[in-house]
Amino acid sequence: MIGKTRNTRKPRGGRVSGKTDGLIRQYDLRKPPVAAAYAVMMAVALLAIVVSVAPLVWTILGGFKTMQEFTRGIKTVGPDGKNKWVMAFLPASFSMEGYIETWRQTKFTRNYLNSLYSVMGSCVSALLFNGLMAYGLSRLKPRGWKVADALVTGSLLLPGMINIVPLFINLTRLGLTRSFVPLWLGVGASAFTVILFKNFYDAMPGSLFEAARLDGCSNLQMFFRIVAPLSMPINMVVLIFTVNGAWSDFLLPYLLLNNSRRATVMVRLFEFRVATAGVTAIEVLRATVFSILPPIVLFIVFQRQITSNVMASGLKG
């Protein structure tokens, strides 16, 4: 650690030297107590990175193990000639067989397709309903738009879980259980997305709209021909968050879709929890890996957009 700190004292490129921003400056690092504190801080940063990633790595590695290897460990013969069980973090072999076997046995393909179906509808819903609402709030502003604005922002203040019981009753009354439709439409009631869209539309230049108006665009044409195509960055961000949200959503999908052919990945994972599901611990572990892989891949591909958007919007996803 000390070596690392010393390293950072070297001037980096040209006449700009070392640490020229933030709380602690180059000049402070010459003082031993500050340098020590800085070293501790970097150690904590390293620890935070390890703690963030380790549980996921542990789970994925665990999935490679066989049932016996997972619960008891690897059998080795000790020096006294007796069998000894050793728990290892790494699996004995990295063969995909266990994963493939579990995938086949639990027929996870169906759940993946169901989740895909739910995710796609949710994306359409988010782009269309929330986009149009934000467009109205940001650009059209008809009389009384503040009522709609209050509807949207007010929902952020309400405790979210309170609604689930009457909502479930309403949906059952309407005969919408075992259907993806309520899940798709539910995404349309997301204040988070509306606010993301609205902030973006607010920043678009007004002259664009005047020009389109002069060319005879109607309100709807203006949205589909001008606003939506010019909002690709925010459309992408909304799509990423919606895909992840719809994939991860669990309570309402569980209430509507459990024990049906339409169970999504998360619903299935929750069903596994109950002993009657007839799956072994290692199979649940592997199913967990199946359920976390798509979001992780999505995140690795789009990590820059995701992290910078969280920082820019200041909204928790």
Partner: protein, 361 residues
């Protein structure tokens, strides 16, 4: 006048539609008949006001009629714009506001399955308060919140400060701490149940064994189950909060620090007088958001412990879940939800009263 009549017309239409839905039994709506009737009255009143405004405008000669024309097109414009916003507004009403009102209404009724039998006043509330699950769950929900403030509130701030001070690997750190946020909540809960498993195969016990320590139990130990669940929640939630703080820290004008250095301020006094005041208001908002979120904790105890051992980790939302989706007793479930909402409302009000926003630098 125009806005008023339009509002009446809109209100009337919504009332009529929901009322008729309630009457036909298509949706679970309170007092369908009354709603429909009130809707019709509103529609008529709105129509009357709109008409009278138009007649007033007509009577004023040429200049006035031009105004009338513009007003007529303005109405057309407003209606068109509302037509565009209506689908999403309806979704908000259906998914958020109608259930809210329904929750309150149902909590005052005796229900049989999904139908209301009769009005019972506060009887559901009284029965909830003396239910053996109520006090443990209320105490636990407060304990979850308290522990999450002890463990979870400072972690993101410290993480953000440290990441902001990094000279290399800032991006890697940012990505790594956000990774747990992107993992589905239910999956993380299942995953942590494995890690805190009581057997030798649990991740924590493997770690202890590697360090030469005996294995121990976690989730079946009533005295540590709540802090452990809070730890897993912090693991999942800290990343997104840390990034928000990080954005706040990067918004601090570097000249503040430079001026302080010239004045001879040490690192510690810079933290006290520049860093903390600059993120104070942000922290204040995020604290109450955290309290609201953690107080409604459901997945973690539901999946990791099912409320056990012996109700040591059951949360108030889990009591709602048990009533509604295990016993199908919707009236007690909604009474419990209303109690939770009332507690949260009270907490928020008290908090806003106690902590005033500080003057921003």
């Amino acid at each position: 006048m125009r806005g008023f009549s339009l509002a009446l017309l809109g209100l009337g239409a919504v009332g009529l539609v929901t009322g008729v839905l309630g009457l036909t039994g298509a949706a679970f709506v309170a007092y369908g008949g009354w709603l429909a009737a009130a809707g019709i009255v509103c529609l008529f009143a709105g129509w009357y006001f709109a008409l009278s405004a138009r007649i007033l405008a007509l009577s004023g000669g040429d200049a006035q009629s031009r105004v009338r024309l513009r007003r007529a097109s303005r109405v057309k414009y407003d209606l068109g714009a509302w037509f565009i916003m209506a689908p999403c507004a309806v979704l908000f009403l259906f998914y958020i506001y109608d259930p809210l009102i329904e929750s309150i209404r149902l909590s005052f009724f005796e229900t049989k399955g999904m139908t209301t039998v009769r009005f019972v006043g506060f009887q559901n509330y009284r029965q909830m308060l003396i239910h053996p699950d109520f006090w443990p769950s209320a105490r636990n929900s407060f304990m979850y919140t308290l522990w999450s403030l002890l463990i979870g509130f400072l972690v993101p701030i410290v993480m953000a400060v440290i990441i902001n001070e990094m000279m290399v690997g800032k991006n890697i750190a940012r990505t790594a701490v956000y990774l747990p946020v992107i993992v589905p909540g239910l999956a993380t809960v299942v995953l942590w149940r494995f890690i805190f498993g009581a057997e030798a195969s649990g991740g924590m016990n493997m770690l202890l064994a590697a360090l030469g320590l005996p294995k121990t139990t976690y989730l079946s130990n009533p005295s540590i189950v709540i802090p452990i669940i809070v730890l897993t929640m912090t693991w999942r939630g800290a990343g997104s909060t840390a990034l928000i703080y990080l954005a706040g820290l990067q918004g601090i004008d570097p000249q503040h620090y430079e001026a302080a250095i010239i004045d001879g301020a040490g690192v510690w006094s810079r933290v006290l007088h520049i860093t903390i005041p600059n993120i104070y208001n942000l922290a204040r908002t995020l604290l109450i958001l955290q309290v609201i979120a953690v107080f409604q904790i459901l997945y973690e105890p539901l999946v990791m412990t099912n409320g056990g051992p012996n109700n040591a980790s059951v949360s108030m939302m889990q009591v709602v879940y048990r009533y509604a989706f295990e016993r199908f007793d919707y009236s007690h479930a909604t009474a419990m939800s209303v109690i939770i909402a009332a507690i949260l409302l009270a907490l928020t009000l008290v908090y806003n009263r106690v902590s005033r926003p500080s003057e921003a630098y």
